[in-house]
Structure formats: C-alpha cells, structure tokens
C-alpha cells in the first residue's frame, strides 16, 4: 500500500520508495528510509496534503509525494507502557 492510503491515526512502516531522482533524494533526506515508522495524523480540510509524524517531526506531504512511498500498515496494538 502507498502512504497516501494509510488511514489517519494508523502507523505504517516504509517498505520502499518508488520515486526517482530529486524527489527520491528529498524524501530520503526527510528520513523516509525503509524501516522508518510513520503515523498519519491529520488531513487538510481541503483534502490534501496529509500530515505525518516522521522521526518526531510533523510534516505535511502532498499526494504527489506519498504516492511514491510504499508502506505496510502496522496492526493497531496499544503500547502497554503508554496506555
């Protein structure tokens, strides 16, 4: 699944980037490397972009970017420590 389709409130792990060139470089530099866990937290009332927590920072990405980020959704499991 692509990051675009990650439901709000859930977390996903980056599997790979399908972007090329400059876009790929930019996404990597933001910390979107395979294995990184991201959380979709809110969507703009105008429908796009969507804000994600990426390595501790809230970043808004347009669908033009998130369509090139493959993620696997992590099953919702409450962390006992933080419950």
């Amino acid at each position: 699944m692509y990051l675009t389709n990650l439901p709000l409130g859930s977390k996903g792990r980056v599997v790979k980037l399908t972007a090329k060139g400059k876009k790929r470089r930019r996404l990597l530099d933001l910390g979107l490397i395979p294995g990184t866990v991201v959380e979709a937290i809110r969507r703009s009332p105008s429908g796009d972009p969507t804000a994600y927590i990426i390595r501790g920072t809230v970043l808004a990405l347009r669908s033009e970017e998130t369509n090139f980020i493959e993620v696997e959704e992590l099953t919702q499991r409450r962390d006992i420590l933080w419950a």
């Binding site: 400059k22 470089r25 530099d29 910390g31 390595r55 501790g56 920072t57």
Partner: protein, 270 residues
C-alpha cells in the same frame, strides 16, 4: 599559481560569501534544522549587532552579526535552516558550501532537544565536513516539559564534540556557548568528532576513490576532506563539482585564461 599555492586562499574564499573579513574576526557558522530556535540563538548571541544581506548571487537572505567574549570579537553567520546538507535545495547548497569552503573557525549546530534523532542527522553531516562543531541543544525547557531526559555527557562522549544545553528564549546557556566557541577558536580544546561509519560496500568504494583523488587532485586535499568528496561523487552529486569550479577556479587573475578549459572539458556541471 595553483590551488596549492594560494596561501591567502581562505580569506579570498570567505569574501566569496559576502563575509566582511577586514576585522579578521573568527568566523562562526550557525547551522540547524528549521524550527529549532536557531534565530533565537542568533539574536541571543548577537543582540542588535547584526545586519542582513544576500548570499552572493542568490536571493536568499543572509544574516550576520558580531558578539564579544573575553575581549575577543566573533562574527556569526546564520546559515539557512535545513534538514540535511545533501544539496537538494539552494538553502542546503548554501549551508554546505559555506561550511565546506569558507571553513568557519567553529560551527554551532542548533538542535531541538525534543527531537534529537532528526537533528543528529544534520549534526553528523556537519561533522563530516569540519572538526570544530559545537552542538547547541536548544529548547531544553520543552524537553523537560515533555519528560524527555537527555544524557548530555553520554551524547558528548558518543559524538566527541562539545554539547551545550540551552534555553535560548530565556538566554540560558548562551554564555556557556560563547565560552565553548572561545575555547575552540583559541585551541583550548581540540575536537575530533565521531564520524559516521558507512556500510562496507560504501567504505570500499570510497577507499578506492580517495586513492584516485589523492593522485589526481594534489592541491585540493588541503581544502576538502577527500573522504567526504568521494561520498558526494559516489552518490552522483554534481553540485559539489560546480561549487568547486565556482569558488576555487574563479579568481580574476586567471579567470579569462581558464575559460576555454571550462568549455572544452566536456563536463556538465549540473
């Protein structure tokens, strides 16, 4: 006259960045991620003794200011806020080129204490370029509020650079920061930062390339860390070569004569 012969090269290079070097102040660069309170640190250090201009040839605002400590005056250059130095944007290229070529006497990296990991990414990139790095751990009050505890001594030990916790809005820690700058500039402390260890396949490739560079570019080693340059070449970053061309090979005395070479060497510096 070549790269090796340019003993006054450093000052000339600094002038390339619109730095007023007439006073011979030590040059201190201020780097950091966006939203880390970098400009608060800048204002806190320089007060009203600052002015803004442009980075040469670019419509990106450059702020510089002065501060005094122990009777010595320092010039502080505020670099654009960036997440990385891998030259994906004009801002990143400016920050990278400044640290790489203007060779500041010390570089302060302002980091958000509430989000250390992302900020360390930049710190580790800066320490690849220059030894004299100070980590300014800002927003310590926010970190405390969020129950984030940072082992400053441990961090210092792992990064092998001075780490100064600050709350720049309240002016906390700024004196300590100035003191550390003073110590580094006056060689009271000598810094040898921890460097990122890359995966074997990369280190091997770099190794090979460094050998090549060493034999082929005899002059440039003085100015640029060859290990770092090899990494940039490996990842296909052409902007670094463009910067080298712009800065080193642009000197009025031989600009016109070398022009032909630029056109015929067949390299596309884009």
């Amino acid at each position: 006259m070549g790269l090796t012969a340019r003993s006054s090269g450093l000052n000339l290079l600094r002038e390339n960045f619109n730095i007023d070097y007439s006073k011979k102040n030590p040059i201190i660069a201020l780097a950091g991620n966006p939203n880390t309170g970098k400009s608060t640190v800048f204002n806190g250090l320089t007060g009203l003794r600052q002015h803004t201009g442009n980075w040469p040839g670019k419509t990106v605002t450059q702020a510089q200011g002065n501060f005094r400590y122990q009777g010595q005056e320092f010039t502080l250059i505020d670099l654009p806020g960036t997440y990385s130095l891998l030259a994906n944007s004009t801002e990143e290229r400016i920050a990278r080129d400044f640290i790489c070529f203007a060779r500041p006497d010390a570089t302060i990296v302002v980091a958000d204490a509430t989000n250390l990991e992302r900020n360390l990414n930049l710190v580790l990139q800066v320490t690849e370029l220059t030894d004299n790095v100070i980590l300014c751990l800002n927003l310590m009050d926010e970190a405390e509020r969020k129950n984030i505890k940072i082992d400053v001594a441990g961090l210092k030990n792992d990064l092998q650079i001075p780490v100064v916790p600050t709350v720049a809005r309240d002016g906390k820690g700024l004196k300590e920061l100035k003191n550390t700058v003073y110590d580094i500039v006056n060689k009271n402390i000598v810094v040898h930062p921890y460097r990122v260890k890359y995966s074997p396949e990369i280190e091997n490739a770099v190794e090979e390339l460094v050998q090549e560079l060493r034999t082929m570019l005899t002059g440039i080693e003085k100015y640029i860390n060859l290990h770092w340059l090899s990494l940039r070449l490996l990842e296909g970053d052409k902007t670094i070569m463009r910067s080298i061309k712009d800065l080193f090979l642009k000197d009025d005395s031989f600009e016109t004569k070398t022009e032909g070479v630029v056109q015929t060497d067949g390299v596309n510096y884009i």
